[in-house]
């Protein structure tokens, strides 16, 4: 038996296909990106080694980069708030209703399975001003017609408007993760607290929240890293415009590489997106842990 399980040739036969594809499409490209980020290159002429110049330009002189970075933070904030906060709210509501939980779960999750291109088009028409889209129509019906506006071309509101669809589509995913966590709390803990006279609010805030904190931390990390690489929907809805008000780092990186054909600078930004995600994960872990004491 042992000999059969140690068959080296079989190990290679089973492992190599996965390993080769994975290394060549996921791991190695990261190293290539780092390498390209030290060059000036348009993809056609010769690559010119320029050391850290791309990074110096990124951090030093590029206003659009910082604009995109700032937008990205707002984008992340809106999405995390929607996905984790609303997800948690719905999860709590769900534990309190008795009928139709399964149906609710199934329906809430439905937007998560639709392509971002369709979601971008759907929201473009919801936000539409002329012909009037659902959002502006409802505002008018509520007597708030003064608030109706072309959301995606409004300088003040466009960034918020492109953030909402991404938040909206995955509320169901976080709802289910948090709902599962809430359900896994043993009911005797709840009963004991009740007997000690805890109110529903106490029960939630001082007993349930600490118990689901690990899952909550993971949810915040997922929502944050997901939003940091957010690309499809803003790219499709506004392509960074009007002006640069909805430009995010991934959209800026994409345009730099594939429209301006500046592969070196684009790679430097891609590397920055990875590092930024890693830092965000470490930061959230630290923050959630320190809140414990």
């Amino acid at each position: 038996m042992d000999k059969i399980l140690r068959n080296r040739k079989a190990v290679l036969v089973f492992l190599l296909p996965a390993l080769l594809v994975y290394v060549f499409t996921v791991l190695a490209p990261i190293l290539w990106s780092m390498y390209f980020s030290f060059f000036s290159w348009d993809g056609v002429s010769d690559m010119v080694y320029i050391g850290f110049a791309n990074y110096a330009k990124m951090f030093g002189g590029d206003k659009t980069f910082w604009k995109a970075f700032g937008n990205n933070l707002i984008y992340v904030f809106i999405i995390v708030a929607m996905q984790v906060f609303l997800g948690l709210l719905v999860a709590i509501l769900l534990t309190s209703i008795t009928k139709g939980r399964e149906l609710f779960k199934t329906l809430y999750f439905a937007p998560a399975i639709i392509t971002s291109v369709a979601i971008a088009q759907l929201f473009t028409s919801l936000y539409s001003f002329e012909p009037v889209g659902i959002l502006n129509f409802i505002l008018q019906q509520l007597g708030l017609g003064g608030w109706s506006k072309p959301w995606l071309s409004d300088l003040k509101w466009a960034l918020g408007a492109v953030s909402v669809p991404e938040g909206w589509r995955y509320i169901g995913l976080y709802m289910i993760i948090l709902y599962t966590a809430l359900l896994s709390i043993p009911s005797d803990i709840e009963e004991a607290a009740r007997i000690d006279g805890a109110s529903s609010w106490d029960l939630f805030w001082s007993i349930k929240m600490p118990l689901i904190k690990p899952v909550l931390t993971v949810s915040i990390i997922m929502a944050t890293t997901g939003a940091l690489k957010g690309f499809d929907i803003p790219y499709l809805m506004t392509n960074g415009g009007p002006g640069r008000v909805t430009e995010l780092l991934p959209t800026y990186m994409y345009k730099t590489a594939f429209s301006s054909l500046d592969f070196g600078y684009g790679s430097a930004m891609a590397v920055f997106i990875v590092i930024e995600s890693l830092i965000a994960v470490a930061f959230i872990r630290r923050m959630m842990e320190s809140k414990e004491t």
């Binding site: 036969v13 089973f14 996965a18 993809g43 769900l94 759907l122 891609a270 997106i273």
Partner: protein, 277 residues
Amino acid sequence: MNYSRYSKAFLAVISFVLLIIQVYPLIWVFISSFKAPTDFSSSNPLSLPSRFTFENYLSVWRKGNLGTYFSNSLIVAVTTIALVILFSAMAAFVIEKMRFKWAQSVLFLFLCGIMIPIQVVLIPLFILYNKTGIINTLTSLILPQVGFALPISIYLFVSFYKYISNEIMEAAVMDGCGIYQVFWRMIFPLSRNTIVTVVVMNLIFIWNEFIFANTFIHDLSSRTLPVGLMDYIGQYGLTDWGATYAAISITTIPTMLVYFIFNKSVISGMTAGATKG
């Protein structure tokens, strides 16, 4: 939780309102796909179609290349998923069941992939595919999608294989099975449920994939559905909304069907994928 009757009713109402916000837009797209062109100039976007018409669907089918896009999407999805299942089941078998010194390191290496943003591989892969000439072919979509689907798929298979006892493998070996037969005749068929989860989860991601398709494909003839949907946006500065809604509906129906049939597997797969990162 113990709530009074009133607060329970209140919670039910809020849940219901939130449900409408989640689901109504999808229903609205579907309803709007049956509207006649004149309905779109009406001042009430919430209204029902004045008469149900299939014109939009017909015009999508006649004008667009949706048939080509659809079959491209299908080829990419089927090939990618077949490769993902095969490669990840085999790799997970080595990692979990065979005696192999580096098993845990290899697993760790694969799991790192869950964290990696797709953007970082776009430029190098674009350059590589350009040089090797596979740019603009469906292969340029299949390869990276297999690569990015492997980490979570391997993770799901490994978690399942943990529950297969070594004794039944030993019994099979006693009966004269070699290592390949143990895998093909026994382990692989036993993992049917995991296979279903991996298939439906990946099917939805792959069917909806946009970035690779938008970056690596420029020919109309190799486009997949999500990129094809962009045909309807702002062409000639005007959007044909009826056709757009019809095209969205056609694109979304397959994933909706898969979802409503296998929703447990879809949800468990996607949440496993998510919580692991």
